[in-house]
Amino acid sequence: MPLIKDSQIVEDVWTSLDDGAPLAPGVWPIVSLERWQAERETLMEAGVPIGLRLRSDQSPRAIAEELEHFGVIALAFPKFTDGRPYSSARLLRERYGFTGELRAVGHVLRDQALFLLRCGFDAFEVAPDTSPDAWRAALAKIKVRYQSAADHRSTAGRLSRKAVRPAQARTPALSLEPEPCAASWAY
């Protein structure tokens, strides 16, 4: 599956491992929650960064204390209408302060791009024929937003009505956003 980050298709440095599949030297694995819980010690001793995969019915609340071990967390959408990963993403970013890559996998459509981004996702595994241009275009369509979310964290004295802006601090590599809306009314 192509991986979109920073509005480009990028090479995926991670490998999603099935539960039975062996670890290989030099491979950065993304493992299921079950495997993480069962093989925690082995995985941590493997000497490579570890990624975690959560199904939409697995809450990140369960691993809130362990986030420092993960370089990437992949949140799976079994279908695009399953909205649980949006909550998971916001929890990870806003409450638990996860700073690694937050990846949307599964049924990920560009019509959802803006929602994903706003909830704190910064990487998207997309269908093979997806063009990054289409993603960029989808994001550019709606520039305004009414509520605060994980993509913007300043809290002091701000209004909630904003133009979508590049995310701050914790997702520095993000550039999937449309042009910031410069008009003064946006703030």
């Binding site: 399953d82 949006y86 929602f115 709606i142 509520q147 964290r153 909630s160 009505r161 946006a186």
Partner: protein, 551 residues
């Protein structure tokens, strides 16, 4: 009322442009129907029995005259000359073309309207008391709250793919005219011991397949925490609401399964994290929105208007209309007018383009340019001087909108049913029409008194039949239309679900059955009891005996 600023305009215009492009992609074949369907639904465009149907949001049921004229224009230009006002305070057009849908949305955007979030598993149009800002029993105008929620919920990134649709209703008064106990969230404005305004929060009400009355999970929520608290509720629901079974996916099922107390605890816990995050509106933003709902400049009038009293004395028809369709206003010398969309033999909630324009004109002239849509499928002119009531009445007569039946048995709520709706199992409109003809005699209706009759054409209960004093549900029995009758329901602050009286009635006999129920009530009634009071006293048996007695 609320006016779009540049931000809101941009938001809606971007959506129109986006949808125009999506329609073009569909018409050219670039998008399949499977891909396109969710996109058109996000813009309120359904495919019904005969054609597309466009559901336009009327936020908290408030319209300006200009907006109403635009709806009339759309009805005439893009549809077949009429529209249907729904129990969700929205309007539906029954015959729009896909090819023109984006044009319609662009026309709507010109008057600050849209069809966003009138479909799908998102937070739907927020409804409110249709007497907001005028009712004598009001703590605060609930539309401020509703508008705040509207903005917060618009394209909410986290809550646009909930387990199921989500409906919020707000009332600012203790008399509940917004049916808040049968919504996913009901908010009632209350004051705490120190006199500060806040909300009582009710969760998990709803009708449909599993009707439930909502449970109070918080007696008092300070106003400033509105959004963080809603966000906590929605997050708990988004994470834990059932997604394996569409019939069990509403929040009411979650609340019922884990219990209101446990649900409340989860919400409180989540809220502790959210309350001092940046979800809540800063005071100045709240004040900005509040300013739009400042009371109109009422004149200082005496409480009693002599000319009005004289007109009422001299003209019995006018007096009758006043008695039923006019309510007390909080400002002295003013009154609230209910414009009945339930003429004898008519389609409940339907209005022609000419009627919409007539109401728009009356509102512009006599009611500070403002119109309300009620969940009972009527229109409301909320701020009419008593001295102008006669002229308003004359205007309504000319537009065939002067039925003096608000709150009476012929003021029937009816969903579109099988005449329009793809999900229907039976027709509902013709049943409403026949009942209104059967009880055409207005004296008789008065004698019966206030009585809420509500009809749905399928188990989805858009016609709120469970909470009608008399409720009628259309069902299909081997290809024949049958009607199940419930008695004793109520949608107000004492909300209760009706109970099924017995076996269903055929299309031909259902009107007789209603008449039998009414006659039984009249026979049993003591000292001016309301229908539900008599029912509570005598029980179902006298009704059953009359309904199912062998002939």
């Amino acid at each position: 009322m609320y006016r779009y600023d540049e931000f809101d305009h941009t938001f809606v215009e971007e959506r129109v442009a986006q949808f125009r492009e999506q329609v073009a992609r569909r018409l050219s074949g670039e998008l399949t129907e499977d891909e396109f369907k969710p996109l058109r639904l996000m813009n309120g465009l359904y495919l019904q029995l005969h054609a597309y149907m466009l559901r336009v949001a009327v936020p908290y049921g408030t319209l300006s005259s200009q907006q109403m004229r635009k709806l009339a224009h759309i009805a005439r230009r893009y549809d077949k000359g009429y529209g249907h006002f729904t129990t969700r305070q929205n309007i539906q057009f029954n015959w729009p073309k896909l090819e023109e849908a984006a044009d319609i949305l662009a026309e709507l955007a010109e008057v600050e309207m849209h069809a966003i979030q009138t479909s799908g598993n998102c937070i739907r149009n927020v409804t409110a008391d249709h007497f907001a800002g005028a009712a004598a029993d009001e703590i605060e105008d609930p539309r401020v709250t509703a508008e705040v929620i509207r903005q917060w919920s618009s394209l909410h990134p986290e809550f646009s793919f909930l387990p199921r649709k989500f409906k919020v209703a707000v009332t600012g008064a203790s008399n509940d005219r917004a049916a808040i106990k049968v919504h996913d969230i009901g908010l009632q404005m209350v004051r705490d011991a120190r006199g500060r305004a806040g909300f009582k929060v009710i969760v998990g009400g709803g009708l449909g397949r599993t009707p439930l009355i909502g449970e109070t999970i918080r007696e008092f929520l300070p106003k400033r925490y509105l959004l963080s608290y809603l966000e906590a509720i929605l997050r708990v629901y988004n994470e834990l609401g059932r997604r394996d079974n569409i019939y069990k996916a509403r929040i009411k099922i979650l609340v019922k399964e884990i219990g209101a107390k446990a649900f409340a605890e989860m919400v409180e816990k989540e809220w502790q994290f959210l309350k001092d995050w940046d979800v809540d509106l800063p005071d100045e933003e709240f004040a900005r929105i509040q300013a739009y709902f400042a009371p109109p400049p009422f004149d200082d009038l005496p409480a009693v208007t002599a000319s009005f009293e004289a007109q009422r004395f001299e003209n019995r028809d006018f007096a009758r209309w006043v008695r039923n369709n006019v309510d007390a206003h909080k400002a002295p010398g003013y009154a609230i007018v209910t414009v009945s969309l339930k003429p004898e033999g008519g389609v409940p909630g339907d209005a022609t383009a000419a009627q919409m324009e007539a109401v728009a004109d009356l509102a512009a002239r006599y009611s500070f340019d403002e119109i309300r849509v009620s969940h009972e499928q009527n229109l409301v002119l909320a701020h009419v001087r008593q001295a102008d009531l006669y002229a308003v009445w004359q205007g309504l007569i000319a537009a065939e909108l002067a039925s003096a039946n608000a709150g009476l048995i012929s003021d029937i709520i009816s969903c579109p049913g099988l005449d329009y709706c793809n999900l229907a199992t039976a027709r509902s409109i013709p049943v409403a029409q026949r009942i209104s003809r059967r009880f055409a005699d207005i004296e008789r209706q008065h004698d019966i008194g206030g009585l809420k009759l509500k009809i749905s054409g399928c188990i989805n209960a858009c016609g709120h039949h469970h909470v009608g004093h008399i409720g009628i549900l259309g069902v299909d029995k081997k290809g024949q239309e049958f009607y199940q009758i419930t008695l004793g329901g109520n949608a107000d602050e004492n909300a209760v679900l009706g109970r099924i009286v017995g076996p269903a009635f055929s299309y031909d006999t259902v009107v007789d059955a209603v008449e039998t129920i009414v006659d039984t009530y009249l026979g049993q009634r003591r000292n001016g009891e309301a229908f539900n009071q008599t029912l509570a006293r005598v029980g179902f048996d006298p009704f059953k005996e009359k309904l199912y007695a062998p002939h």
